[in-house]
């Protein structure tokens, strides 16, 4: 297959899902308590996008893969140490604030500027990948906004699969309501694909890939451009944890028959 792509993956970093989160309000608005020391991971959907991008690039020799990520340098370094072991990429770090309460429009502007400035980027071969949502802000709009800023009008969200054809066109499966996929064909790049879970398992750590990534990763981090994110008129009135605490009835001694009868009555009740 002669098709080659230039794939740019936008990926944020988020608190490890197993951490307890507590919102606090500071002088710059809401944030998370001890945010800078919370263990961080690459956003799960963005990670799916990265693995799918690496898989696609490997299938189409001559393709190139960049990972563009915005976050505090120290956090980026921590997360990239793990991710760099999995797939080959060129990191484009942007040194800026993270968190669910930052404005997506400002984030998108910083990402789009960084992508537009990539040396050697051929926009006619560009596939812009990322997560369809994130585990922090979770608005599902950043990638769309980046795509619009880059003038890309073929966009797909909730993507689980892409099949590239000989002529460079591709079929794409997007999640829609009711547990179904919408199937579309696109003439080819440029396009935006916001990934859901994808079809691939997390790649195993590969020390050779890690060594190769490290050669470019640390210098890139040192040269990360700073970005400040404007609020765009966003003002928080209140941020809080859900207070709902239920009084749980724990049944330890009921027989399966009794439990079944109770459940059937419960299922049938309005």
């Amino acid at each position: 297959m002669s098709t080659t792509y230039q794939i740019v993956v936008c990926a944020g970093i988020v608190p490890d899902p197993l951490q307890s989160l507590e919102p606090v309000t500071g002088p710059n608005g809401p944030g998370l308590k001890n945010e800078m020391v919370l263990p961080a991971v690459l956003d799960p959907w963005a990670a799916s996008a990265l693995y799918e991008a690496a898989h696609l690039a490997a299938k189409l020799p001559g393709s190139k893969l960049w990972l563009v990520s915005l976050g505090p340098k120290a956090k980026l370094q921590q997360v990239m140490m793990t991710i760099a072991q999995k797939v080959a990429f060129e990191l484009v770090p942007i040194d800026g604030p993270i968190g669910g309460f930052t404005d997506a429009h400002a984030t998108a502007a910083a990402l789009a500027d960084a992508i537009a400035a990539l040396p050697g980027l051929d926009r006619t071969r560009l596939l812009l990948f990322g997560g369809w949502e994130s585990a922090s802000r979770g608005a599902g709009i950043t990638l769309q906004l980046v795509g619009e800023r880059l003038g890309i009008t073929d966009q797909f969200q909730g993507v689980d699969q892409i099949d590239v054809r000989e002529d460079g066109s591709f079929e794409v499966l997007e999640r829609v309501e009711g547990g179904k996929h919408q199937v579309s064909t696109c003439a080819g790049a440029p396009a935006v694909l916001g990934w859901a879970t994808g079809c691939l398992a997390e790649p195993r750590n590969n020390p050779q890939v890690g060594m190769a990534n490290m050669r470019t990763l640390m210098p890139a981090l040192q040269k990360a451009k700073p970005a400040t994110l404007a609020a765009n008129g966003l003002q928080y009135v209140d941020v809080h944890l859900p207070s709902q605490q239920r009084t749980t009835r724990v049944e330890r001694d009921m027989t399966p028959e009794d439990i079944a009868r109770e459940l059937v009555a419960w299922i049938g009740a309005e």
């Binding site: 802000r137 979770g138 009008t153 547990g179 996929h181 919408q182 928080y236 749980t248």
Partner: protein, 342 residues
């Protein structure tokens, strides 16, 4: 005062608005009344006049983009349609359903109009200004906020509003012209994520959540994945429930472990899955760690079956926890449900 615009779209028939669209209409009507602002409703449909008939009782100004090109839910045509409707309405506040169709394009449209957007809105409040509520960090932190910038697009989470119902009638629909770019994307169909029985039913009253325990070794030292699958499918068939799953159970397919063949990542709920809205939820073979609890945030009445008396569910997250073997309980439930099935 500038009008409030509600964007809506038709279902696959092309001539009826989706339920989520009608929910947005309710929100728009309420907000227009609260702010004493005019209401404009934009309709995207192949047969817009037919679709708009459901809006007769709103007494709103109706704009439409219509034609075969808008039968397909794709970015280029839908974004152009919404952009045209927004420019025609000249609104500072735009409400729209958070359907897959509008979630794909709304941010792009907001950008084209120099506006801002917020999504997954679960409530609208405020008195003199509009305050929106949504969840952050995957339904773990709730926030209320407002924006100074305009136009402000708000995508409403489906299931959070009452769908508008009014006597259908003939309405005057103003057609808005759209100049479409040459199409590069074609929708070729819709495909079920898994073969066989459809297990995801957004309108079901009950959600059954299957955890990884279903495919673990049972008291006889053996794995009973086939039996587990039959029990779960039997329960779904008898109860009409929708099926959710923990990430660990879905992931097993990629790790060479026993799997339930009808499960896909689209069944996954929780931190990295969906957060469905059902009146009731029954969790089976599933522990109660935080990522799972997130998936239950919007389930009203919650029960769980677990062998572990110290399961996280006992810590105030479920209403009832049965300490029992889910294989035995669900088998008995299926017996009873099949007898009572109409």
């Amino acid at each position: 005062m500038k009008p409030i615009l509600v964007l809506t779209h038709a279902d696959e028939s092309g001539s009826a608005l989706t339920k989520a669209s009608l929910e947005a209409v309710t929100a728009g009507k309420d907000l227009a009344q609260q702010l004493s602002a005019p209401l404009v409703i934009g309709v995207i449909a192949v047969h817009a006049v037919a679709a708009a008939s459901a809006l007769a009782a709103t007494e709103a100004r109706i704009l439409s983009v219509t034609g075969e090109a808008f039968a397909q839910a794709r970015y280029a045509s839908d974004a152009a349609a919404c952009e045209a409707l927004c420019r025609a309405a000249d609104s500072a506040l735009v409400l729209a359903p958070g359907s897959s169709r509008f979630a794909r394009i709304a941010a792009g449209v907001a950008h084209r109009l120099g506006g801002v957007i917020d999504t997954h809105i679960t409530a609208l409040g405020g008195s003199s200004t509009v305050e929106a509520t949504r969840w952050f960090y995957r339904q773990r932190v709730e926030g209320v906020f407002h924006r100074e910038a305009s136009p402000w697009f708000l995508l409403l989470e489906p299931g959070t509003q009452t769908a508008f119902t009014g006597t259908p009638g003939t309405v005057q629909v103003e057609s808005v012209a759209v100049e479409l770019p040459a199409p590069r994307t074609y929708v070729t169909g819709v495909r079920a994520a898994s073969q066989g029985q459809q297990t995801i039913r957004p309108d079901a009253k009950l959600l059954l959540v299957a955890g990884a325990g279903w495919t673990k070794k049972q008291p006889d030292g053996q794995v009973h994945a086939t039996e587990a699958g039959q029990l779960i499918l039997g329960f779904l068939g008898n109860s009409g429930a929708s099926l959710g799953s923990s990430k660990s159970l879905v992931d097993q397919g990629g790790e060479g472990q026993p799997v339930l063949p009808f499960l896909t990542h689209m069944n996954q709920i929780g931190q990295t899955g969906s957060t469905p809205r059902h009146a009731k939820g029954l969790s089976t073979c599933c522990h109660g760690e935080e990522p799972h609890v997130v998936g239950w945030r919007f389930i009203g009445d919650r029960r769980a079956i677990s062998l572990d008396p110290n399961c996280g569910w006992t810590r105030g997250k479920a209403d009832v926890v049965y300490i029992a073997d889910a294989f035995q309980v669900i088998a008995k439930v299926n017996e009873l449900l099949s007898v009572n099935k109409p």
